[in-house]
Symmetry: C2
Subunit: 304 residues, 2 copies
């Protein structure tokens, strides 16, 4: 099975630092790339970490705070300069188009690639994107401005053919497509072969949930139940729990609580406040509740 790859381009928050740039990550699945958030410096990190964006056609923006979206202007400007042709769709709150279009139009030529803004309503659970490989659904969050996370769900995969059986029943190639989808087979003598004799079950579709920025909220749990990996913001530590509440952010302990309650496979913490020089306390705090936790850092790559 081809892996789903995720690269963290930026793991910082509002104040970017040398080691923790503004929020951005790229998910690669079935040959396509999807960007989630695009803070300042994203185009630099793409080059630094050699992220493949040849098939990046969609950017998903969680909310319109500058640390989650201002890298879009520079990225588009550079892609235009490099001669990109494919349309790029930006899924974001409707205001993004109004505030960003003047700069984008100014820095790109008229014959440059097309940029489409797909306005989303962050306060509703809606499937905002789908292609052959996956669907993307918004996860409403609680932040100072309208904000949503994203659930990336791989589509149902095909069942695996049992080669020896396919040969034994002399099944024509034209029938394989439907058999992989679960159809039975009827041979030339009218004999029915049940699908279970010809295939083994499909791999489980993979799911990735991105949650940033938000106050601790259990409302998201039903949507992210059992995902292979949950990225959850942990801007603060418990010692600054009050500050987290005031600014509508989450602590590492709270993120781990969500991971545990949602029964996810793995938790990634990120979006650290610049006040913390050392991130080890984040993992210590989270592991008290949810052991399979890792810390995001700029350049981190992992697979589902």
């Amino acid at each position: 099975m081809d892996p789903v790859k995720i690269t963290i381009l930026g793991s910082g928050s509002a104040l970017p630092t040398k080691n923790n740039f503004h929020a951005s990550q790229v998910l690669e699945m079935r040959g396509k790339s999807y960007m989630i958030d695009c803070g300042e410096g994203t185009q630099i990190k793409i080059r630094q970490y050699k992220v493949n964006i040849a098939r990046l056609d969609n950017i998903f923006v969680s909310h319109l705070h500058s640390d989650h979206c201002i890298g879009i202007v520079g990225l588009i400007s550079t892609l235009a300069m490099l001669g990109r042709k494919n349309t790029l769709t930006i899924h974001a709150h409707k205001d993004l188009e109004a505030i960003m279009s003047p700069m984008i139009n100014y820095f790109t030529d008229d014959d440059s690639f097309k940029v489409i803004f797909n306005p989303i309503n962050p306060s509703k659970k809606v499937m905002i994107y789908e292609d052959k490989g996956l669907t993307v659904t918004t996860i409403p969050l609680k932040h100072r401005v309208p904000s949503c996370g994203f659930l990336f769900e791989e589509r149902q995969r095909e069942r695996h053919l049992i080669k020896s059986m396919i040969e034994a029943f002399e099944i024509p190639v034209k029938d394989l497509k439907s058999i992989k989808k679960g159809a039975d087979f009827i041979d030339k003598n009218g004999f029915l072969v049940k699908n279970e004799r010809l295939t083994t079950p499909a791999d489980k579709p993979r799911k990735y949930a991105y949650i940033s920025d938000t106050l601790y909220t259990e409302k998201i749990i039903s949507q992210i139940e059992g995902v292979d990996c949950l990225y959850h913001e942990a801007t603060f530590l418990e010692q600054d729990r009050e500050r987290a509440k005031e600014t509508f952010h989450t602590t590492a302990l709270q993120a781990a609580t969500i991971a545990q309650k949602a029964n996810v496979e793995k938790l990634i913490l990120g979006h650290y406040s610049a006040r913390y020089k050392d991130h080890e306390p984040f993992i210590k705090e989270a592991k008290k509740i949810f052991d399979n936790t890792i810390l995001a850092k700029d350049g981190l790559r992992f697979e589902l």
Copy 2:
């Protein structure tokens, strides 16, 4: 004499790399800071290199290509978040205000500090800024869009008092200000003391010229004649001279030729194309013509 300090925040060009961010530098003189250009990632470099921007009230933008100005949005957004109060003036081609204001207004609160756009005409030699310490004058350049360099000229400095003479003539404190400016002194008996007996000459005012982006042009020479330091773009090497011409840029050898003809003290090369991994050939090429050349790199600090 308090030094004039210059910090290179970004020494790259259109395609930023891990080591060479978009163009930006900060000049510090007589307690104030002045930013020249502000490409993507400038706010990150400010934090990384611990540049003092408490008294940064002016940003000078050479031209409206994205690698020279898109960092302004993030910088302002962050300064607003940190509670800055002082007005910030951006000296740039008039279009900047139209394209950037929507984002700046969106990402800052109504009670945030004031941002003033001072529209400049890059095709004219004009003094666009002055304060107690210095004047800033545009230097028209030849690029694909209206573009100018900047000449930072320290104002005439005061003459140095000869302490022993001031004491010997029992000169009151109230007269020292005019004496430092060159006035003679008349004592209570009507005896005239020539200024030359009371002071030694003032230090020479310092000058810094910033030239980026431009085709090789000797028209700038009269304006930058004899400056203490010339920063000149060197996007290409001579081996790519044709490419330099096509894209309205300069080679290292051409930059050195300008430095020699303008009889400057020191030359700094920067704004390297991302195609060159190694910058040593730039210095080799320039030194054939102008020996006192150094290479800009992100984080380089030097004094005039």
